[in-house]
């Protein structure tokens, strides 16, 4: 019944390198046997998939510029940037030199030896029967990126991967895949950036990212969803941490018609640690759904997760934060906080912390709140002459600014602060115009 992807899958099959063909066939089998979830499926209770009920074509090669309408990609100094447009690699838009200690292979270009190495890691963090959209990703797997950071390499320069979508006559789909292997004791920064140039273009991106951290590795990971309004994105990030590995993963989603991101962090070795921070900002009729799952399988690991959302207009959001502490995971410390701000009476958030704890010697704290702007803070700002609209803007931005402040990469933090403060200021100005308060 999943024929809406048929054309794209046939096209992917025709363009796949030989070594990925078995992978595709297997994925396609799982995809075609699977059933599209409905509202009765617990994991999809608050996220409907009606917008997927249309045919999606394979993406055409698009002539896109990075400075094109609506696309703003941060300049990160001496970092390396790899750009895909409509799923096709675009060397002329890419920039910088790969830093020492980093190797990058595109699946389409892989030598037999490289293909063999990719196959020994690909899918190991996902679990092959995990989810239907990862099956779809396997089924359409013709291109992807394998990024490897050598053991003991200390890579200062950020590695930036940009997936752009442009426009074409029909709705189209992009299959995104990233595999990152951080060697033992290595340090690196990886930024995943999704954006679109045409706000009305219907696109469906189905992404899978795997982050494998070997013993003592440390990864700063950023995932920015800045796609156009008509974009559909179903994506997942799977991180697996070996002993004493540390991941710092930051997520930002501006809204679009449908975004569903699943994040799984698997503490597989003792002493591993994760920091996960995220911000989601749907408005209009947009919908954003974050499902996160922190797996604690082994003792002495820590996790700290903070997500905040501002839901405006008639937008809807879902946050499902699961912490799963297995019987052997004694001495685990896990924290989860999710705070939401609703700025209209029609805005909706479904937030659910989900704790499953099977070990007895653990510390686990969680909390979820839904609120409106603080009346007293609003009043305080107004007593200093600040207009209601400006005060709302400042408080809304302040609410997420606390999370943006955790971004360690300074140029990226400044980029995000500018991007978001401008967005809030624009919204504030629009609100003033509506109320007739706009300044000349």
């Amino acid at each position: 019944m999943n024929e809406f992807m048929e054309q794209a899958l046939d096209s992917a099959a025709a363009s796949a390198p030989v070594w990925l063909q078995d992978w595709q066939v297997d994925g396609r089998g799982r995809w075609e046997r699977s059933v599209i979830p409905t509202r009765k499926t617990e994991n999809w209770k608050y996220t409907g998939l009606q917008s997927l009920r249309q045919a999606f074509a394979a993406p055409a090669i698009a002539e896109l510029g990075l400075s094109g309408a609506g696309v703003d990609v941060p300049e990160l100094g001496d970092g390396y940037r790899l750009v895909f447009a409509n799923g096709h690699h675009r060397p002329e838009l890419s920039a910088g030199e790969l830093p020492a200690g980093v190797s990058l292979v595109r699946f389409a270009d892989a030598s037999p030896a490289q293909a063999k190495r990719i196959c020994s890691y690909l899918g190991t963090a996902v679990g092959r029967d995990a989810q239907l959209f990862t099956a779809l990703n396997d089924a359409a797997l013709a291109e992807g990126v394998f990024l490897e950071v050598a053991e003991d390499a200390r890579v200062e320069q950020p590695l930036q991967l940009v997936w752009l979508t442009g426009n074409q006559a029909e709705a189209f789909t992009v299959n995104q895949r990233l595999l990152v292997l951080c060697g033992a004791r290595s340090q690196a920064t990886v930024i995943e950036h999704f954006a679109g140039t045409h706000s009305e273009q219907r696109t469906f991106t189905n992404g899978v990212t795997e982050l494998l951290l070997e013993s003592g590795a440390s990864l700063e990971h950023y995932r920015l969803h800045l796609e156009q309004g008509a974009a559909l994105h179903i994506g997942s990030v799977h991180a697996r941490l070996a002993e004493h590995a540390t991941i710092n993963s930051f997520h930002l989603a501006l809204g679009s018609e449908l975004k569903r991101i699943d994040l799984v962090v698997d503490h597989a070795g003792p002493g591993a640690h994760c920091e996960v921070n995220g911000v989601y900002l749907p408005r209009g009729n947009e919908h954003i759904d974050y499902h996160t799952c922190i797996e604690h399988r082994v003792p002495h690991c820590t996790s700290n997760e903070v997500f905040r959302g501002i839901i405006a207009d008639e937008a809807t959001a879902v946050f499902n934060g699961r912490i799963h502490i297995h019987p052997d995971a004694q001495k685990t410390r896990a924290q989860l906080s999710n705070k939401n701000l609703l700025t209209s009476n029609q805005a909706q958030i479904n937030t659910k912390p989900e704790l499953e704890i099977y070990a007895d010697d653990v510390q686990c704290a969680h909390g979820a709140t839904v609120a409106q702007l603080d009346e007293l803070a609003l009043h305080y700002l107004r007593t200093r002459g600040v207009s209601v609209a400006d005060a709302r803007t400042m408080l809304s931005f302040g609410f997420i600014n606390e999370v943006i402040d955790t971004v360690r990469n300074q140029p990226l933090r400044e980029f995000l602060q500018k991007l978001l403060s401008e967005r809030f200021a624009r919204d504030g100005l629009a609100a003033r115009r509506v109320k007739g308060e706009a300044r000349p």
Binding site: T383, S387, A391
Partner: protein, 249 residues
């Protein structure tokens, strides 16, 4: 400049102000004293338009305008300033950004051009030095993690930046040590001018040793029970408030 006539106000359905009348002229410093629960803080909140404070009777004129016809921010832009007894903490909004927005709004009202970011930063640094506040606090969230004294200095700094026509200081002296008290007094005294009025709401006479008031009023049970000059403050210090409350009752 401020004319309060027979003001009645309630909070949560409870009458707090019960016929308060007070006139403040430009250039004057008024001290309002009184026991706990007499309505001192309520007066400041009502004048600033705090939600939850309902005016049930009476009028207030500020610079010739009906104060209650104005929104909170319009009152502020016109030159009314309230230093809060308990300043609000706003994490995520930087003190500097907040003060810039406030100064921009007030300057626009006065027909003055907005200060550019560099000039404002310079001005803010100079002002923070005047109130003895580490300029590092400019970058922090508004009042976020400030000590009681630091919050009061931050209020004072806002007052100095906004240059109001009338400043109401709601127990700005409470909880301050003698050094901080002198910083507050110095700030107020430096701003005294024939165009500007002050209302100092205070529980203790101590502040008035450093800021000499023109008039002292005692508030009891929601109205002014007695007015006088600074000697009234000394009398209160010596005799306490109870004899006045007895008189009112």
């Amino acid at each position: 400049m401020l004319k309060i006539d027979n003001l009645h106000a309630s909070v949560d359905g409870k009458d707090i102000l019960k016929g308060l009348t007070l006139t403040v002229k430009a250039g004057e410093v008024h001290a309002i004293m009184g026991p706990n629960g007499s309505g001192k803080s309520t007066l400041g909140h009502v004048l600033a338009g705090r939600p939850g404070y309902t005016v049930t009777a009476g009028t207030v004129e500020f610079l010739g305008q009906d104060l209650f016809a104005l929104e909170t921010e319009e009152r502020a832009r016109l030159g009314l300033f309230l230093a809060f007894q308990y300043p609000v903490e706003i994490p995520g909004v930087s003190n500097m950004e907040f003060m810039k927005a406030a100064v921009d709004a007030v300057r626009e009202q006065r027909g003055e051009p907005a200060l550019d970011a560099v000039s404002f930063m310079k001005l803010a640094r100079q002002t923070s030095a005047l109130v003895d506040l580490d300029p590092a606090f400019l970058k922090r969230g508004v009042n976020e993690g400030f000590s009681g004294g630091e919050k009061k200095r931050n209020e004072l700094m806002q007052m100095m930046l906004l240059e109001p026509r009338l400043a109401i200081l709601d127990e700005t002296d409470s909880g301050l040590d003698i050094d901080a008290l002198q910083v507050v007094a110095k700030g107020v005294n430096s701003m005294r001018s024939p165009e500007r009025g002050f209302v100092l709401v205070t529980h203790y006479q101590r502040l008035l040793e450093f800021i000499e008031p023109d008039h002292v009023h005692v508030l009891a049970d929601g109205r002014i029970a007695r007015s006088g000059d600074k000697s009234l403050a000394l009398e209160l210090e010596a005799r306490g408030y109870s004899w006045l409350e007895d008189e009112v009752a």
